[in-house]
Amino acid sequence: MAFTYSKLAESTVGSGGSATVTFNNIPQNYTDLVIKISARAASDTQSAPTMMTFNGITSGYTMRRILGTGGGIVSQTATQTGILTTGSDFTASTFGSGEVYISNYSSASAKSISSDSTNENNATGCYIVFVAGAWSNTSPITSITFTQEVGNTAQHSTFILYGIRAEV
């Protein structure tokens, strides 16, 4: 039976936080991947960038993003891709929300990634970001790892990986 939109894996960060959250052995029989994320940084502050790497490879990533900071909106480029999570100095027990879309993840061409995310804070400061990213590597994506720019991902953060299949 074909599954058009199916959960493939789920990860909830346990006590003490985690340096990495990884989905391994991703099935290659879907068209696209979606990851829904509710996360917070254990020690990083403010915007708390969460980087995403594929297949354990840390090179070949680029992105353009629109970032709202509470003090203005900027357009930026960077040599990474990912989302924002809630910084540890923001309101306690409050987690950022984000969604990542990875098209044609099993193809032998460069990968296209888009995401939107926001980290909440019961104050004026709060970040919202839209990302259009690329990974120039042509290998099929078999694993995805999330890491905080600084420190661990906080306990109770959740990452759910879904597969989307196109009817051809």
């Binding site: 039976m1 058009t4 959960k7 509470g70 409050t94 950022g96 929300s97 004026t124 919202i128």
Partner: protein, 192 residues
């Protein structure tokens, strides 16, 4: 229960084609389609068995001045101060701002009866049963207004700074306004 699979008899008679209706991800919980105007719609006794919720809104109010926000209230709590942050553009710039209110946080802008415009948005509510997290939502949508700055596109983040599981969601217009007939609110559960 959602449809899990559909098959149709193929045009050649002997072949059964699978239709893309397989869905082991998202199930409809409830829909309210207004047949009369009202100031508030409520989803109560929300099942606690899903990982995330998603609310899809197509709405309009009778606000005579222009496009209109709706309030998103959780668990009938009007004592807590809610907060939202928003990034929006009305065609003449883009802004990031925040506000607080005890009635709930805002979700997007919607149309009004005098112009006939409607607004829509999709609201994601992650980990709505998790007692270790305050409740946050993100919403994307807006309304076009045929060139007027009343039209706007919104990406909003809402905070209900309480950790209690969400059992009730109430959507309401400002106190002096009502939602139009044919406004639709559909709540879905996303499996974890």
């Amino acid at each position: 229960m959602s449809i899990s699979k559909l098959t149709t008899n193929g045009v050649n008679g002997s072949k059964y084609n699978t239709v893309s209706a397989d869905n082991y991800y998202m199930e409809p919980i409830a829909t309210t389609l207004l047949t009369s105007t009202t100031g508030t719609i409520t989803f109560s006794n929300i099942p606690q068995t899903y990982k995330h919720l998603q609310l899809r809104v197509f709405a309009q109010t009778n606000y005579s001045v222009g496009s209109d926000f709706l309030y998103f209230n959780i668990n009938n709590d009007s004592a807590t101060t809610y907060r939202h942050h928003q990034m929006f553009s009305n065609g003449s710039g883009i802004t990031h701002s925040t506000a607080t209110d005890t009635a709930g946080f805002y979700i997007n802008r919607f149309g009004n009866t005098s112009t006939g415009y409607w607004g829509n948005c999709v609201v994601d509510i992650f980990d709505y049963t998790n007692a270790n997290k305050t409740k946050t939502v993100r919403s994307f949508g807006g309304v076009d207004w045929n060139g007027s700055v009343e039209g706007a596109i919104y990406y909003m983040s809402g905070l209900y700074p309480q950790t209690s599981p969400i059992t009730t969601i109430k959507i309401s217009s400002d106190s002096s306004r009502v939602l139009s007939i044919n406004s639709r609110f559909s709540l879905y559960g996303l499996k974890g």
